[in-house]
């Protein structure tokens, strides 16, 4: 008999090549459907996983198909915990996540792009880089609850919603 609170883990490796982030986001959506996530939450999850994997491919793997990005989906009853690991081939993750200034971009005062991490923050309940001294790579963790009601109370006061260390990714 499997204990009721058993965490189900799905792990996949994708090549460090743009386009394969789609495989990860579809796998994440499939797991979330099994957990009973609403269609709206699944779309938010897909956007977050796609952006995180795109960053891991573009920056952490320098778009080199020989490198591997590992995505670990840990499913509990009320939430999905996603860890995206890359080889850390590019620059270190930026220190801050800034709200995009589309007006500055449209007026040519700022380059376009830099939306990825900001967008992730809007989609999930927690998102942050994990210190990984052993592998030398980057580890980015995201947590999304099945419903907004299941979020940890501490998340609702804005004190720990996201703790990212990145920008322009």
């Amino acid at each position: 008999m499997i204990p009721p609170n058993t965490t189900r883990v799905v792990e996949l490796k994708i090549p460090g090549e743009l386009g394969y982030e789609r495989v990860a986001r579809e796998a994440a959506a499939s797991v979330a459907r099994r957990l009973g996530f609403s269609p709206e939450r699944i779309e938010e999850l897909q956007t977050a996983v796609d952006e995180a994997c795109t960053n891991a491919i573009r920056h952490g793997s320098k778009s080199d198909a020989r490198m591997k990005v590992v995505v670990v989906l840990s499913a509990d009853e009320d939430k999905l915990d996603i860890l995206v690991k890359d080889p850390g081939a590019g620059d270190s993750p930026p220190a801050d996540v800034m709200t995009p200034d589309i007006q500055a971009q449209v007026e040519g005062r700022s380059p376009t792009g830099g939306l990825g991490l900001w967008l992730i923050r809007q989609m999930v309940d927690e998102a942050y880089f994990v210190e990984d001294d052993e592998s030398g790579g980057n580890q980015f963790r995201m947590i999304i609850y099945r419903t907004m009601d299941e979020r940890h109370p501490a998340l609702d006061d804005g004190s720990s919603s996201t703790d990212d260390e990145g920008d322009n990714q």
Binding site: L18, E43, D50, V106, G113
Partner: protein, 118 residues
């Protein structure tokens, strides 16, 4: 590995309609920009980006659209967007794209808006 995007251009009731079907990601950049620039070269003033409900759009796709918004502003063109799922309507509002492009639930409503403004 490339993602599929189908970009087709048509003209109807005073508007240039750029249909997008598939994934709007970095792989779509060339096709979307070509469709927009061809339309602009033909003197298009009202340009509708007509998405499919199941299109997927990531931040690279949004950056492509921000680039087009920038060009459209210089050319005094009106941009309209239709057919987006509620998820991507929400994201476009969050990002601020709706300051520069009007969202309509359907192509018909976008075309009617252009006719009213004429």
């Amino acid at each position: 590995m490339t993602d599929d995007i189908q970009v087709t251009v048509s003209f109807e009731r005073g508007a240039t309609i750029i249909d997008l079907a598939g994934d709007v990601t970095t792989f779509a950049e060339e096709a979307i920009n070509k469709a927009y620039h061809d339309a602009s070269s033909d003197g298009a003033h009202n340009i509708i980006f007509n998405f499919r409900e199941d299109d997927y759009i990531n931040s690279a796709g949004i950056a492509i659209l921000i680039g087009i918004v920038t060009e459209a502003r210089k050319r005094d063109q009106r941009l309209l967007m239709t057919g987006l799922s509620s998820h991507f309507q929400k994201i476009f509002r969050m990002v601020g794209l709706t300051q520069y492009a009007d969202l309509y639930p359907s192509l018909e409503e976008a075309l009617a808006s252009i006719e009213e403004a004429a």
